[in-house]
């Protein structure tokens, strides 16, 4: 009996230690990989390649963080999460960070005790309907059946939008994007609503994308970005500045192709020098190597390259940069200075 009590105590203590760990960065370094929470699959943002590897716009954030810590974009393990399981997975310590088209909101930040580390995609909620319905505006959707992923901000926006416009609708809650796609294509719902980027991504996977139209109304602000738990600022800094590095790299014209040359010797622009580690000891401040940013850019590319590769106008998704252009081009993508 004493043994079992002892074992029980040990097991419980182990559980407790998992939750109440002190520093995620140290833990991550100790275990040798980043455990990254992602979505269960959204074309362009998180999908598996023919080789069975995860790839996509959100996935590259995880890979960039892994490169920053270990210099290896493969030092990452992925945990697919649904809209409902993601925060529990993060809060419980099951995953180290979440990069899963997650909207930054007040209550998630303050009440759920999560730290949002920036925005990698400025989105808004839209509606997709079959062209055959002849609907031109979301305000014509009175009485429509709407497929909606539960546990998302879109669910709340939808309720608010229809209430504000005093029109009725029938929500059909679904768990994942794939399920919503199946329901929508089967005609079990007239409308599918989620973030406009997600709609474009989903539409790109249809057999006849032109038979479906995304309505002009954008009914919400959905700044999407990576996030970590509250109270672990060192780890938060690593993820935040990894994202910022990608953004600064695009602004300064550093690409995966030319970063090797630029990092070889100090150049004229001091910010590039600081970023690429040819000047100062900026990496060490965060507990990383001197040339961590150069490795990230070499492995992943800059923000613009990642965007164009996965979701840009030349891909099947075909999203224009729009709000997600650099601030110098009239967009909102803007990083604090690296100094």
């Amino acid at each position: 009996m004493k043994t079992s009590v002892f074992l029980g105590t040990l097991a419980a203590a182990g559980l407790a230690a998992g939750v109440a760990a002190a520093g995620t960065l140290a833990d991550v370094k100790a275990k040798g990989f980043v455990q990254c929470g992602i979505s269960t699959g959204v074309a362009g943002f998180a999908f598996t390649t023919a080789a069975g590897e995860w790839d996509g716009f959100d996935i590259d954030i995880c890979r960039a963080v892994a490169t920053a810590v270990f210099g290896d974009p493969k030092a990452v393990k992925f945990t697919p999460t649904t809209g409902k399981t993601r925060f529990t997975a993060l809060a419980s310590g099951e995953i180290d960070m979440l990069s899963r088209n997650t909207t930054w909101t007040y209550s998630r930040d303050v009440d759920l005790k999560l730290t949002f580390l920036g925005v990698n995609y400025y989105d808004g909620q839209g509606f997709m309907v079959p062209t055959a319905l002849g609907v031109n505006s979301a305000t014509e959707l009175d009485g429509a059946t709407v497929c909606i992923q539960t546990g998302t901000t879109t669910e709340l926006n939808l309720a608010d939008f229809f209430r504000a416009n005093d029109i009725s609708y029938e929500p059909v809650p679904v768990e994942t994007n794939a399920e919503a796609r199946a329901k929508y294509l089967a005609g079990a719902c007239d409308v599918y609503t989620t973030d406009a980027s997600g709609l474009a991504a989903t539409r790109s996977t249809f057999e006849n994308p032109d038979d479906h139209v995304i309505l002009p109304e954008i009914i919400s602000k959905e700044p999407l970005g990576p996030l970590v738990r509250h109270g672990d600022n060192e780890w938060g800094d690593v993820v935040r500045w990894t994202l910022n590095v990608l953004i600064i790299a695009e602004e300064k014209g550093i690409t995966a192709a030319n970063v090797g040359d630029m990092a070889a010797a100090p150049g004229k622009d001091p910010e590039i020098n600081r970023l690429l580690g040819t000047e100062g000891e900026y990496g060490a401040m965060m507990g990383l190597s001197k040339d961590w940013a150069a490795k990230v850019i070499a492995a992943i590319g800059n923000y613009g390259e990642v965007f164009e590769k996965h979701i840009g106008v030349n891909t099947a998704i075909g999203l224009p940069r729009g709000l997600n252009a650099q601030w110098t081009d009239g967009g909102l993508i803007y990083s604090p200075p690296y100094r």
């Binding site: 009590v5 609708y169 005609g187 079990a188």
Partner: protein, 569 residues
């Protein structure tokens, strides 16, 4: 005369706790208990500490804030401005809806399949074997998903949907639409005529049974009952000028409007759960029937009973005693399995309270605890009711005076002589048909109290009413106990269980406490009755009920099957 010598008392030493067999087992049990309590305390403390470390505070205040989400299937008024607790109640009712529909359908399927599996017809019995073995051995989640996918893909879009069965049902891939009855002037009389004819049919059934026992003559009771109910109701319906019509669903805009709408999620879940559970029930039924000795059937045939009568009068009543206990657990399984609704987007309690509310507020512990409390109370209620039913039908021994702990009756033993509580099958017990019919009003009293309490706890959304979570602990506890005891008194009265007296006494105590803390009884009866009427009328009715059950003049013919000791009967 015998001489007894006192055994020499060995002085107690501490090592005797584990060396002396007199103390060892107690000592070990105490140690084990302490260890378990320490472990439990440690776990709870650990959770509390970790929550505190995460900066999360434990509390149910969030349940009173607006939910901000919509629910498609709502049996009560609900908008996205309603509170999370209202959303939870909407989910609870949806769970209960599936559970009730599923249990009824599963019982029907199970009994049919179980009986047919024993059929002499080779094809029928083999078909039932295929159904039972096929369904029982596939996980229910997969069956739910399959059925949902079939309904989504196979049924037509509303634009192309056509009414079937003469407009009785419109199947679409969003659900099934049925016509809804509309009540015009005079329909009240039709409803009243229906109720009156049903009561008449019940009375006739009792009369026919009594007559058959006296004279041995058998009347075609079922046909006469049917004729009575249908005839009287139809006649009133015609005389009043067809006051009840049907409103058919019509395609308007995107979907059908009007009528009764059963969503695909509800249909898929109910069907899948009842088909699955029905297969298990079928096996229980088969086992129960086969447990009845073959001699019973042969004896019935020898008496010249038809096969259907043999089944209904001889076999099934005996088989029920074997069938009921496993049936309880099948009902419980079905109710608990209904939480798989999550997979197909049916908004049950797990979908609203344990799904969206949990996710949008982040209060996982609180919502899951509420959810567990809900499923626990539902399961315990089902098993309570079914156990009482089992006690009615189960095989009884020849003498089985019920003992089993303290009863309020014992308090009155000095005044009224000692009572023995008998069970069916006791030599002194003589059940008497139709006796003390007025005592069934007791059922109404406790039933009304229960409905009132459930409404007040869960459904009342009137302005300015504080949410349950904001009440004082005393009021919370008293309303909860009043609900529990009125429910147990209600059920024990229905099943004529001898423990009714204890439940009624406990309910009286809590009722008095509720009066003392000033529960707004007037409001709780929808303003139909004045608070003083409810308080004094309720007290009088309760005292009268308890008085009658304790001092009743006809003990052996009240429904508690009691006799005064030694009086015989």
């Amino acid at each position: 005369m015998s001489v007894t010598t006192e055994p020499r008392q060995a002085s107690f030493r501490i090592d005797m706790l584990w060396t002396d067999s007199r103390y060892r087992s107690t000592f070990l049990q105490i140690i084990a208990l302490i260890a378990v309590m320490l472990a439990a305390f440690w776990l709870v403390n650990n959770v509390a500490q970790n929550l505190a470390n995460l900066g999360k505070d434990f509390g149910f205040g969030f349940m009173t804030t607006p939910s901000s989400y919509d629910i498609n299937q709502r049996l009560i008024d609900y908008t996205s401005r309603s509170s999370h607790s209202t959303a939870a109640v909407v989910g609870l009712l949806n769970t209960l809806l599936v559970a009730v529909l599923g249990c009824i359908l599963a019982t029907f399927l199970g009994v049919t399949a179980g009986v047919l599996r024993l059929s002499k017809n080779w094809i029928v019995s083999r078909l039932m074997t295929v159904y039972i073995e096929g369904v029982r051995n596939v996980p229910v989640l997969i069956q739910i998903l399959l059925l949902s996918a079939i309904l989504d893909e196979v049924l037509p879009h509303p634009k192309t949907a056509e009414a079937l069965l003469g407009g009785f049902v419109v199947p679409t891939n969003r659900g099934f639409y049925f016509p809804i009855p509309t009540f015009q002037d005079g329909s009240l009389y039709v409803v009243l005529a229906f109720i009156a004819s049903v009561i008449g049919a019940i009375w006739f059934g009792r009369w026919a049974t009594r007559r058959q026992q006296q004279t041995g003559e058998h009347l075609p009771v079922a046909w006469i009952k049917l004729g009575l109910v249908a005839g009287v109701t139809l006649l009133t319906y015609l005389v009043m000028g067809l006051p009840i019509g049907l409103e058919y669903p019509e395609l308007k805009g995107f979907n059908f409007k009007g009528g009764i709408y059963a969503r695909t999620s509800l249909v898929a879940l109910t069907l899948a759960l009842s088909i699955y559970t029905g297969a298990f029930i079928a096996e229980n039924v088969r086992a129960g029937i086969q447990a009845v000795s073959k001699g019973q059937t042969e004896a019935a045939f020898a008496l010249g009973l038809r096969p259907s009568w043999t089944m209904n009068l001889i076999i099934l009543p005996q088989a029920l005693r074997v069938i009921i206990p496993p049936l309880i657990s099948q009902y419980l399984n079905l109710t608990k399995n209904s939480s798989l609704a999550l997979a197909i987007g049916y908004m049950d309690a797990t979908g609203t309270l344990g799904g969206i509310t949990l996710n949008q507020t982040g209060h996982a512990f609180e919502t899951l605890m509420l959810l567990m409390a809900f499923y626990l109370s539902i399961s315990l209620s089902i098993s309570f009711v079914m156990n009482l039913y089992n006690e009615q039908v189960k095989l009884v021994e020849r003498t089985s005076v019920a003992g089993g702990g303290f009863s309020v009756l014992a308090l009155f033993a000095g005044v009224n002589g000692k009572w023995e509580t008998l069970k069916k099958g006791d030599a002194t017990m003589q059940p008497n048909y139709g006796v003390a019919g007025w005592l069934n009003l007791v059922v109404l009293l406790y039933g009304a109290t229960l409905v009132m309490m459930l409404y007040y706890l869960f459904l009342d959304q009137s302005e300015g009413r504080d949410s349950y979570y904001l009440w004082g602990t005393g009021k919370q506890a008293i309303t909860l106990f009043l609900t529990v005891f009125s429910a147990t008194a209600f059920v024990t009265a229905i099943f004529k269980h001898y423990r009714f007296i204890d439940m009624a006494a406990a309910e009286l105590v809590v009722f008095i406490l509720a009066v003392l803390i000033g529960l707004p009884f007037g409001e709780m009866t929808f303003g139909l009755l004045d608070t003083s009427v409810v308080v004094f009328g309720g007290l009088a009715a309760r005292l009268a009920t308890i008085g009658y059950t304790v001092f009743g003049a006809r003990p052996n013919v009240t429904y508690f099957y009691r006799v005064r000791e030694g009086s015989g009967s």
